[in-house]
């Protein structure tokens, strides 16, 4: 165990606890604006997790795309639906209990599988600068999914304009 390991562990537990608390607050808080801002905190925590996982490019993409673009879109949608920000009741009691049980069951089963499966862990964890490698991978091995993703984004953009347009 090196000092670096201890530092990484401290960072992981601090950021992880913040992310989980923000996530729990996000699903429990009634007011939608607060919920969205707590989700921003959780997404920022996930960006820091990417840094800890030495995924430099993804950490920046997470900041730019999720916090910069998607969350702004969400806040706009919340602001554009006045009167819906603070709904009177979140959901019937029975529905909340059923959802909690479902999520708990999925969680217990997934955690059991995740912790009991014999993963083939590599000898030295991947620790390289990823941006350049990702770029060349997207242009060579994954060029077909890349093109389909660009098509999907175009279709999504056109669809969003058509659906939300006032006619």
């Amino acid at each position: 165990m090196t000092p670096g390991d201890v530092f990484t562990a401290i960072a992981f537990y601090l950021v992880g606890a913040t992310t989980l608390v923000a996530g729990i607050g996000m699903v429990l808080v009634r007011n939608m604006v607060r919920s969205a801002l707590l989700l921003v905190l959780a997404l920022g925590g996930v960006a820091l997790m990417y840094v800890l996982l030495s995924a430099d490019f993804l950490a920046v993409v997470q900041l730019l795309l999720y916090i910069g673009a998607i969350m702004i879109l969400m806040l706009f949608a919340i602001m554009l639906t006045p009167g819906q920000v603070d709904l009177p009741s979140s959901a019937p009691q029975a529905q909340r209990i059923t959802s909690a049980l479902t999520a708990l069951a999925v969680g217990v089963i997934s955690l059991f599988v995740v912790l009991s499966h014999p993963w083939r862990i590599r000898a030295a964890p991947l620790d390289i600068v990823t941006s350049e490698r990702l770029g060349s991978l997207l242009m060579s091995t994954y060029v077909l999914p890349f093109e389909i993703a660009s098509l999907l984004l175009t279709i999504g953009m056109i669809g969003a304009i058509v659906i939300a347009r006032e006619d």
């Binding site: 999720y66 879109l73 009167g83 479902t102 912790l115």
Partner: protein
């Protein structure tokens, strides 16, 4: 699973917990935007797991997990744009985005 050093399992547990929290939100929220927010949390839980696989798992295809995460983020962006457009369209039509009141197709 020891507390220090942080390894694959820690990140997998974190991702799973994020996924389950998001799942609870997606099932229990009655505000349509709230459901979309919870979906983003679920997708992020999966992304953490993907990137953890890219770092720790021994595969011939290096960085495949991170490429997957990029595609998940792309699909999430498209999903958010279209989903919010639908939410705003429904609000214009029905003046509510409470999902149990949007029951036009209910028999």
């Amino acid at each position: 699973m020891a507390l220090v050093p942080v390894g694959l399992h820690h990140f997998l547990v974190l991702g799973t917990l994020l996924f389950c929290i998001g799942m609870y939100g997606a099932l229990s929220r009655s505000n349509a935007v709230g459901i979309l927010l919870s979906l983003e949390l679920m997708l992020n839980g999966v992304n953490v797991i993907m990137v953890a696989f890219a770092k720790f798992i021994d595969t011939p295809q290096e960085l495949a997990g991170q490429v997957f995460a990029i595609f998940i983020i792309t699909v999430a962006a498209a999903e958010a744009a279209v989903g919010l457009a639908i939410v705003i369209g429904v609000y214009r039509l029905r003046n509510t985005i409470q999902v149990d009141q949007i029951d036009l197709l209910k028999g």
